[in-house]
């Protein structure tokens, strides 16, 4: 072993100083044991090192880099050898920040994937490899008492969302959820959410249809439209309310909201519209009267009202 760098820690706060030492050993073949040790930071030779001979005859050089200003720095311990500069050892120093507190944690129960999907804001870049873990436990009452072991949900690298599978959930009981961020400089925890999975269920939008006039169905009045809709099939067991919004296809009119509406209607006449005008219609539903999240708006249905 010709040279060995030692660092107090391979990771420091960005902007903090770091002191390193390098010891060169006398029994390194071809090396003049009295050589002067030189330091390179990246590719730049560094001033300001102190060299001394240790009791056992080895040479030790110590250097303090006042301010680490880039997240990745290579420190090299070198000696002159003839006309060339020889690298004997190299160490990577990482500089960054401890993880900020993850915030804006929110969760939705997805009935398609049958999982509770939570997402959060990670906070500013720490320049260090930072791992996020979504943690949770089931609880009675308002999440003060922990009922069972803490569950860890590991997001894929670089992603700020995680899905807790159905088998780890009690859909109608409280659970406490938070995010933990961890890197070499520390750990931080988001505020805890206390929620019941089914109370944050987000449904898929209902399906809207035009109701073709038929013997049983009289044609719509002027300025009216005939519609029907059905909730998203996998949510049939959930009592819901829905909202309809419409606006003329042309022009700048804003949406007009109609609701609350039943989640299923075989025939609905929407009136108060301009005659022989094309309207764009959308609908969304939410679990009700039990709590839930509004679905996205359904794809648009474009219908034209009857003439006067």
């Amino acid at each position: 072993e010709c040279g060995r760098i030692s660092l107090p820690t391979p990771t420091v706060h960005l902007g903090d100083p770091i002191t390193a030492s390098c010891v060169i050993s006398p029994n390194c073949s071809h090396l003049d044991p009295e050589s002067q040790i030189l330091w390179k930071l990246g590719t730049e030779l560094q001033p300001g090192k102190r060299q001394r001979r240790l009791a056992d005859g080895r040479q030790e050089s110590t250097i303090t880099v006042p301010r680490l200003s880039s997240p990745r720095v290579l420190l090299s311990c070198c000696v002159r050898w003839g006309t060339s500069l020889q690298i004997l050892d190299q160490a990577e120093v990482q500089a960054g920040y401890p993880p900020a507190t993850p915030h804006d944690l929110s969760c939705l129960m997805n009935l398609t994937t049958n999982s509770l999907i939570c997402q959060w804001e990670p906070g500013p870049d720490t320049h260090l490899s930072t791992h996020f873990t979504l943690k949770s436990f089931k609880s009675r009452g308002n999440c003060q008492t922990q009922e069972d072991s803490i569950l860890n949900c590991l997001p894929n690298d670089g992603q700020n969302h995680c899905s807790i599978p159905r088998r780890d959930l009690l859909l109608y009981q409280n659970m406490s959820i938070w995010v933990e961020a961890k890197n070499a400089l520390g750990t931080s925890k988001s505020p805890q959410l206390c929620l019941v999975p089914m109370d944050v269920v987000k449904l898929e939008p209902p399906t809207l249809w035009a109701l073709a006039p038929s013997p049983e169905v009289a044609p719509p009045q002027p300025g009216c439209l005939l519609l029907r809709w059905e909730p998203w099939k996998p949510s049939l067991y959930i009592e819901q309310k829905c909202e309809l919004r419409h606006q003329p296809q042309l022009g700048e009119d804003s949406w007009v909201l109609v609701g609350p509406l039943l989640s299923q209607t075989l025939q609905y006449e929407l009136c108060g519209l301009l005659p022989s005008t094309a309207y764009v219609l959308q609908m969304r539903c939410t679990r009700w009267p039990l709590p839930g999240q509004w679905s996205d708006w359904s794809p648009s249905l474009t219908l034209t009202t009857a003439q006067r």
Partner: protein
């Protein structure tokens, strides 16, 4: 304990009814899969086998319209759910194409039993000792598991149908 004509907290009742509908939907999916993949579409063709296998059917006498009694009905409903958890557990080993449907049903019934028990505790109507599943039938062949699946799912539907009607009548007037 609650009187015969007491009513249930609205929020609990709504969640209870929703869960019942969810379990019924799950069990319909299992029945449809058994019919599609193994042509076992009629539980009435398997009654004899059901007797021979000794598939128990839980009582809901406390929930019948002419003898409606809230505490008794809730306890019988919970006992029934625990029994069906055991029956579904005994069906483990159904072919892979049925496993997702069976697992969803097992999870949802498990959830429902826990919620009902906790609510009964809060209402002060839970028995001192939680019920146990008791002896379960042994399904010794692939066919018996499939036939057992049809019978258990069908019995569960009727069980929940009766319980659903009873609970609706406990809603606040």
């Amino acid at each position: 304990p609650l009187g015969p004509t007491s009513s249930l907290p609205q929020s609990f009742l709504l969640k209870c009814l929703e869960q019942m509908r969810k379990v019924q939907a799950d069990s319909t999916v299992l029945q449809e899969r058994l019919c599609a993949t193994h042509k076992l579409c009629h539980p009435e063709e398997l009654v004899l086998l059901g007797h021979a296998l000794g598939i128990p059917q839980p009582s809901l006498s406390g929930c019948s319209s002419h003898a409606l009694q809230l505490t008794g009905c809730l306890r019988q409903l919970h006992n029934g759910l625990v029994l069906y958890q055991g029956l579904l557990q005994a069906l483990t080993g159904l072919p892979p194409e049925l496993t997702p449907a069976l697992e969803t049903l097992q999870l949802d019934i498990g959830d429902f039993a826990i919620n009902l028990w906790r609510e009964m505790e809060e209402l002060g109507v839970a028995p001192a000792v939680p019920p146990t599943q008791g002896a379960m039938p042994a399904f010794t062949s692939a066919f018996q598991r499939r036939a057992g699946g049809v019978l258990v799912a069908s019995n569960l539907q009727s069980f929940l149908e009766l319980a659903y009607r009873a609970l609706r009548s406990f809603a606040k007037p």
